[in-house]
Structure formats: C-alpha cells, structure tokens
C-alpha cells in the first residue's frame, strides 16, 4: 500500500512537470512568433504645429514611430510664446502615461518645472530644437544654434558691400535657440569693421509682428542694407516687409529655415540666403532616441547636432540642396 501511494505521488509530480513544460514551451513560442508588446507611447510637444518647420519635424517623428512601431502623438501651442500651454501639455501627457516626451521648449526657464516633474514621474525627456534649463533631460538633439548663427554671419560677410549696416529681427528673447543664434552671429561679425549693428528687435514669433517691426525698423533706419532674422516666421515677416517696401535690391536678407514661400522669395530676391536646419532629422532622431532610451540601448552621445545648410539663390537647385529645401511627401 505504501509503495503504491509513493508511485502515485511520483506519477502526479511527473504529470505536473510535463504540464509546466508544455506551458513554458507554448509561451516561449508565442512570444517569439507573435512579438506582442503593448506599444510604447511617445508624445512630441513642439513650439507650434503650423509652420513648415514643425510639420517636417512631425513627419520625421512619424517616420521613426513607424520604423520602431511606436505610438507617436503631436502637440503644440497656438503661438510660439505660450509656455503655459506647453507645461499643461507635458502634465497631461504624463497623466496619460506616455513613456517618453520629445520636447521643444518655448521658454528656457519657464518650462523647467514641468519637465522635471515629468522626469520624476519616470518619463524620459528628449529635447529637440530648443533647450530647457534642466539637468534631468536624457538627450538633446538640435541644431548647433551658435554655429548656425555663425553661418548667418558668414553669409552676411560674403557680400560685396563695403559697409554692412545690419538690422536684426529676432524672435522671443526667452527662447534659448534664438538667443544662441543671435549670439553666434554677433560674436562672428562684431569683430569685423565693415559691420555695424544698426538695430536689433525682438518680436513675437508671428509673420505680422515681424513684418511690422521690420517695416518700422527700415523706416527709422533706412541705411540698413543687411537684415538677419532667426526663424521661419520672422523670415517670412522680413521678406514680406522687404517686398512691401520694395527694397529687395538694396537690402540683403539672410533668413532662417525654409518653406515654399521663403523659397519663392529666395528665387525672386526678397530673401538672399537661407540657413536651413534639418527638422526632419530632428523629429526622427528625437523619437529614435526616445525609443533607444526606453529600450536601455547604450546611447553614446546625449548631445546631437543636426546639420544646417546655407542656401543661396545660386545653389538652391543643386541636387543636394533640393533635398534640403523641399521635403518629399
């Protein structure tokens, strides 16, 4: 009897053992072959959603999202000074349980608190385009703004004018990237004796304000023969102002970023050079880095500079520049 019970126990344990084995085998194969994961969520929060620059950024982010099978959402405030809305967007995204936020800060300081909160809630932050004053950011992907500013300076100095009377139309003074660009530009040109900075204004990042400010500036200081400006909307504002005042021939404009209108202006002469960033790469790399961070991949560099290209009327249709200027839909 004793022996019998023992053998029954053994049979019982053996059968349990086999059942466990079969279960393990099944689960392994299922995992292997179906590759079911719950999708990683990445929120891209930009400064705006309307400009060509940001649209291209979103296109890049979306491409990366497709590549890595992520859920990517896009958001941005109505106007490019609205850091409050941006902070709300960050908090809401954290509440919604996103895994990472790809963020471009409207305000270098005012966005810090929301960003730090998000990080302490376990959300990875990848900064693109415009930095925020926080050490908790996992990676930064942007144009080297100082260098881009320098590139504007090079374009200005490449002109043949003997005296360069420069007017600066910059956007929101709280935005880190605009200030860096201006600094890069100033550091590069100030040493040059040809250059005089006649006027420098900061406007809200809209076409209308930029246009109005430019017209006012040109009217007050008609000797200005060079205007530099540092983002897409201010570039268009300056372009329209030059068009309206019909000073395209005597005023050289070095502008920033491209869209179909500014490219048209480059062709027709209101704008003479464009420093073009690589927003597509920014968006793509931003999401890619978010993915890598979430997958614990080793990231060798946490500060990535994307390329900038100086486009002039003469080289704008060179095959490589076509690729920079015109996005492929």
């Amino acid at each position: 009897m004793k022996c019998n019970r023992k053998s029954k126990m053994i049979v019982f344990f053996l059968s349990i053992y086999f059942v466990i084995n079969v279960c393990c085998a099944c689960s392994i194969t299922e995992k292997e072959w179906t590759g079911e994961h719950s999708k990683i969520q990445v929120a891209v929060i930009a400064k705006s959603t309307t400009s060509a620059y940001w649209k291209t950024t979103f296109a890049g982010a979306s491409a990366a999202g497709t590549e890595y099978n992520l859920d990517v959402s896009f958001e941005g405030p109505e106007n490019e000074e609205d850091y409050e809305t941006q902070n709300q967007m960050i908090r809401k995204a954290v509440e919604n349980g996103v895994d990472a936020i790809v963020f471009s800060a409207v305000d270098y300081n005012a966005n810090v608190e929301a960003v730090n909160e998000a990080v302490s809630a376990g959300v990875k932050i990848v900064i693109i385009d415009s930095d925020v004053n926080s050490d908790l950011v996992s990676a930064r992907i942007s144009t080297d703004n100082y260098k881009a500013g320098k590139m504007v300076g090079e374009a200005v100095l490449s002109g043949t004018e003997e005296v360069l009377q420069v007017g600066i139309v910059n956007f929101d003074e709280h935005s880190e990237n605009g200030q860096q660009r201006e600094k890069g530009f100033l550091d590069y040109v100030e040493a040059n004796e040809r250059v005089t900075i006649v006027s420098s204004v900061n406007v809200n990042s809209t076409i209308e304000e930029a246009k109005a400010a430019t017209i006012k500036m040109l009217k007050e200081q008609p000797q200005i023969n060079i205007i530099v400006t540092f983002n897409e909307w201010t570039s268009l504002g300056v372009g329209y102002a030059v068009q309206e005042l019909d000073v395209a021939d005597k005023t050289r404009v070095v502008a920033f970023d491209s869209n179909v209108v500014s490219v048209g202006m480059l062709e027709t002469g209101e704008v003479d050079a464009l420093v073009v960033q690589n927003p597509y790469a920014m968006g793509y790399l931003g999401v890619e880095y978010a993915w890598m961070l979430l997958n614990d991949d080793k990231i060798r560099e946490t500060n990535i500079d994307t390329t900038t290209t100086l486009i002039t009327r003469d080289n704008m249709y060179a095959p490589e520049n076509q690729k920079v200027l015109f996005s492929f839909e």
Binding site: C3, A25, G60, A63, V260, G264, E267, Y280, L285, Q322
Partner: protein, 574 residues
Amino acid sequence: MKLKTNILKKIRERRISLSFVMTGLVVCIVLVACVIGVIVFTYCYVNSMEENAVTSSEQAVSQVRNMVSHYTEDMQGIMEMVRINMGEAQEERSEFFQNLIDIRKDVEAITVHSEEGKLIAYWSNGQELKEQIHTNLSYKKLEDEGLFISVPHVQNLFKNYYPWVVTFSQRIKTEDGENIQVSMDIRFSNIASYVDKVGIGAHGYCFIADTDGNIVYHPQQQLIYAGLKEEQSEKIRTYRDGSHTFNGVIYTIHTLENCDWRIVGVSYVDELVTVRVSGMIRVVMFVVITVVVTTVLAGVLLAKSFSKPAKELAAAMRRFVREAESFEFYPVKGTEEIVALSDSFGHMVLQIQELMEKVRNEEITLRKTELNALQAQINPHFLYNTLDSIAWMCEVGRTKEAIEMVNALARLFRISISKGHELITVKQELQHAECYLKIQKFRYKSQFNYTFQVEESCLGYLCNKITLQPLIENAIVHGLDLSEEGEILIEVFEEEQDIIMTVYDNGVGMSTEQCEEILQKDVHQKGGIGIKNVNDRIKIYFGEQYGVTISSELDEWTKVEIRMPKISEESYEM
C-alpha cells in the same frame, strides 16, 4: 580526467551504484543524440532559411519590377500619345493634354520647350506659372529622339509648388521642321504607394535606382534626403542582376527591360535568418533540456525501482550466507525481473534448507543403521546358540571342529567391528560371510552347501561391512527349505564401473509383492538386521542408483543382488 579516474576507481571498488551507472549512461546517450540532432537540424534549418530569404526577396523584387515596368510602359504609351497629339490642331491638342492631366493624377505637368530651352507651352493641374523661372529643372537638352527619363528633381515652374517629379521627355520634329521638346513631369504617387507596401521580412524594402546608382524612388526617400539613411549606391551600381549578400544585407537587383531603372530589394539576413534561427534554437534547446531533465528523472526513477530492491535482495543473500538454517525469506517487491529473481531465490532457499534437513536426517539414519548392524552382529541369541554349539562339540570331543568354530566366530566379530570403519574390503566381507556360513553350517548340521564364485579383481575394492551376512541369513532362515538339500551361491563380479554381489538360494522363493515388501519394511528376524538396513546404508553411502534388488521365482529360487560402485582403497580415506 580526474573525475573519470575517480569514477573508474569507484567502479573498481564497487562503490558505485547501479542507478548511477544507468542514469549516467542514459543521460550521456540522450545528450549525444540531442546534440547531434540539434546540429543537424540547425544546419538544415539555417540553409533552408537562407534559401527562403533569397527566394522571398527575389519574389518581392520581381513583383515590383513587373509593376514598375508596367508603369513605365504605361508612361511610354502616354508619351507616345502626346507625341502623336502634337501634330493635332492647337485647341484639340490643349484639350487632350488638359484632360490627360486631369485624369492622370500622377502627371504633374506637360511642357513644351523650344530647342533653346524656352518654355513654349504648358499644361498643369491648375498651378500658376512663375513670372520668372530661376532654373528650369524640367528641361534638359536632348541629343537624339529617344525617350529620356530624368533623375528625380523638384519641379519649380509654378508658384509656391515644388513637387518631386521624374521627367519623361522626347525630342519631336514639328511640321515646320523645328525641333521641340515635349516633357511630362510625373509624380511617383502611383508606384510609390505600391513600392512602399512591399516588405521583405519585417524591415526589408524595395527601392528604384537608375543604372548610375541614383535613387529614383525610395520608400524612405525623406530619410535619405535628411541625411539619416544611406544606401550603398556605389556598391549596388557594381552588382549585376541577382541576389548579393553584403554586410549581412541581401541585395536583390532586377533591371527593367524598357528603361535603365533597377529594382533593388533590401532585406536583412539577421532578421530573416538569424533571429528566427536563434529563436528556433532557443526552443530546441528548451526541448533538449526538458528531454535531458526528464531522462535524468526517469533514469533515477528506473534505477530506484530496480536497484533498491536489488540491494535488498543482495542483503537477503548475504544474510542467508551467514545463517542459512534460521534464515527466513520475505519476497522483495519491484520490477518483474526483480520479482523473478526474488522468487527464484526464495525457491532456492527453500530447497537448500530442505536438502540440509535431508542430509541431517540421512546422517542420523545412517548412524542408526550402522549401530543396528553392529548390534545385530553382537546378537546375544546368535552368540549363545553358537557358544552352545561349541560347548556341545567340546563335550562330544569334536575338538577340531570346535576349534574351527571358535576361530570362525572370532574372525566374524573382528571383521564386524573392524576398528569402527564402515567400509571394508570385499575380501574381508567375503571372509566375514564365509565365517558366518561356516558357523551356520555347523549349526544346521550341514543341511545346505555353499559356494563362492569370486572374481579376483574385485577383492581389493571396498564395500559396506555386514552386507552379505544379512542376505545369507535371510537365505538360510527364510529361503532354504530345510527338508531338502539347500544350495547357496555367492557371486562377486565386476560390471563396468560397479561391483555386483549376489546371494542365490534354491529355496522356497517369494512373490513379487514379498520381494518389494522386504525392501520397504524393517523385518527383524530373531534380532538380526533386515535386508532393508543393507539397502539403506548402500543408498545413503553411494546414491540412489545403488542398492539391493531382489528377484525370485516362487518355489524355485531367490536371488538378492547388491550393486555398489568400485571404490579402491587408495581413493577412500579411512
């Protein structure tokens, strides 16, 4: 190495258990089989996966090629229609072109340039022509009248409209004899949506390049334009049609027949082969480990169910060796073989114990019968009668006979006792018998005669003492009819390996039943010992095939035969 010697040492010392050996062997065999199986399986699997990868890549690429070649044929057809329509009247021509653009969404514009590159006419999908065209990218001066397909470029003819297009253009001679160039800008939307959808594995894709390695259309064109991705254009340019593997990437290339475009399929060995194979190997390894673990468990279980009862059995045997008699055997439970062994052992134990019992009993019987034989010899009646006879002889003065009688009696006893030995020589036994006959003959007043027929060669062999005497006594007392002349014949001869001694008398004889009865029953005749005693002693001493047989015919004769083996004095230690 050390482990091996240790194990060998253990085996030599017999410290290693059967279960260990069995489990070890089975696990080794299963492991070797599994390893071989996995290697062969993996090899075959990898091969077939690689072939699969190339095949699926080839299939995808040739599908795209067919599609694209269909598309380019289509475009060539349209170009041909455009060329023919150029001969039509201005209005009809315009209407046709405009309709064409409206219907074909992928045709962005049709332009006509003069030989110098001046834009003469255009038809577009509602775009406004720029006042001043900076660089007309849709025009390229053609040297011959063949169809030319450009690399992808931006169309920059219209205000705020910069689509990426490929230009099909052809030089045409007008009726006026002028050379004009007709161009058609085509968007890739049609092929693009098709090419985009083609996947090879999870991340593989197809793209279109021209023979110079320029990318015509790529599903990730924007990534390439943004500098985030590069194709091995130079490498691909040098490849012929077919599949090539480079840096873990399979490039499958097919060139279109009707133009110089090539369809390039890109797929990843890692993804198509390595990942699956490693996944497969993981599953297989899991199975192997399961099998091995199961084998170990089964082996241990098997060994337990076999070796444990075997050990019990061995212990029982050792106990049996130590104390055979008092040993009590309890059957061991276990597998069939063990049970069989146990049963056999149990049976053997019983038999041995029985045999031991039998031997002991026989020993006791032997001692008893020997003692009986001896006692019979010193039978007081026989002694009294004989001494009476001697006394009587002395009285009547038959001194000589009396002396002979006394001598015979003396020898009879001497031989009977013979220093306590059970075996004596045949010669002594015959002397004993003769002494007895002599005495009896005196006593029975010569009413019978006796004769000895003895082969000389038999005299030296040994036989049980007091074997002939009881037979002779039986013959005299029961056999002989004393009314007539009795005859007793004693024969001793060899028969192969045996010695036969017979006592024959021509007395009253016996029935067959009587013959048998005599050997069964201890019949004491006047205190003498029976034939049974003789038979028993011989059988105990020499075995069942020896002993006494009686044959007889009623009223005629009786013959009692003793069969014994030849035992020489040298071979028997006294």
